[in-house]
Symmetry: C2
Subunit: 166 residues, 2 copies
DNA sequence: CTTGAAAAGAGCGGCCA
DNA sequence: TGGCCGCTCTTTTCAAG
């Protein structure tokens, strides 16, 4: 996992349609080694998958909701059932167990308020929850799948000596 | 945007490495019309882009944080500056303007607490904020980029008559 | 790692129904 | 619209330096 691998990953997580030749050119490799690196990154699971990112608004899914949940029951069995149930709901794009006052946090995408109400009712009907707080997004300012990879620094070197003008 | 388009999108948002032939086969089309539909979906912006999804843990980015922000200044110019500044921070994967008590919500990915502290200091140093609440994820239960597309229903038909037991 | 090249496969487009 | 059938490009693999 060197600087070249990071460059390859940075390119692919922005645009996975780039050809191997194009990637190789930008990272300073020819096709063969570039292809081998990508194969290795996939085998190692660093590249998890390649997906198409769709526009939610154009698909009528314009409402994003952040849901904070406090659970009542903290037993092992209950938590597993909770995790399985919520994970199976397709409206839930992200689902984290949290530290602190909030036990779980969801990011939910639905068509509109009515659809969210339907989701919400299903959520609280299926499982006993102590507290559920929904926060609604009015505007998406930024949304990316690209991770903040460490920026490959320019190769460290002694300060370049200025060439004599000419 | 018919049921076949939805099927194509459902496949591509799960696995963008599928060949056009493979997709066509699953949706009941041959290559050409399938390819034309995908081209149209891309031209219409329904398919926004294709990306590689990387494993954050394998890249040393194991800490996800949900950040709730209340702003002090609500003037137009300030809000634009705020949006631009925060959008430019690569640790911010998602950034929404919210309804209700919280003005903005971020999902931030960093390496560890120290990296988050550094991010946090930059955030509050750059812009005057009334309140910033950070909630830390302990465990990722689910994370997907796949939108909850309306499930194409099986062709409606009269209720099937139960066959005589045999 | 590089060049070169070849085989297999996929994207792309024309033409017909 | 969808389907058949090529042409072209990419991916993938191999050999040799």
């Amino acid at each position: 996992m060197d600087a070249i691998d990071l460059k390859i990953l940075a390119l692919l997580q922005t645009d996975a349609t780039l050809s191997i030749a194009a990637i190789g050119e930008r990272v300073g490799l020819s096709q063969t080694p570039c292809w081998k690196r990508i194969q290795r990154l996939e085998a190692d699971g660093v590249i998890d998958r390649r997906v198409a990112v769709l526009d939610p608004v154009k698909l009528g899914l314009g409402l994003s909701v952040f849901v904070s949940i406090e659970t009542a029951d903290h037993s092992q069995g209950w938590l597993e059932r909770f995790a399985d149930t919520v994970s199976a709901m397709p409206e839930v794009l992200e689902f984290y167990r949290m530290a602190g006052d909030v036990d779980y946090m969801l990011r939910v995408v639905v068509a509109d308020m009515q659809a969210y109400d339907s989701f919400y009712k299903t959520l609280i009907a299926t499982l006993p929850l102590k507290n559920v707080t929904s926060r609604f997004a009015m505007e998406k300012v930024k949304s990316t799948t690209a991770l903040p990879l460490p920026v490959p620094q320019a190769a460290p070197r002694s300060l370049p000596r200025l060439a004599a003008a000419g």
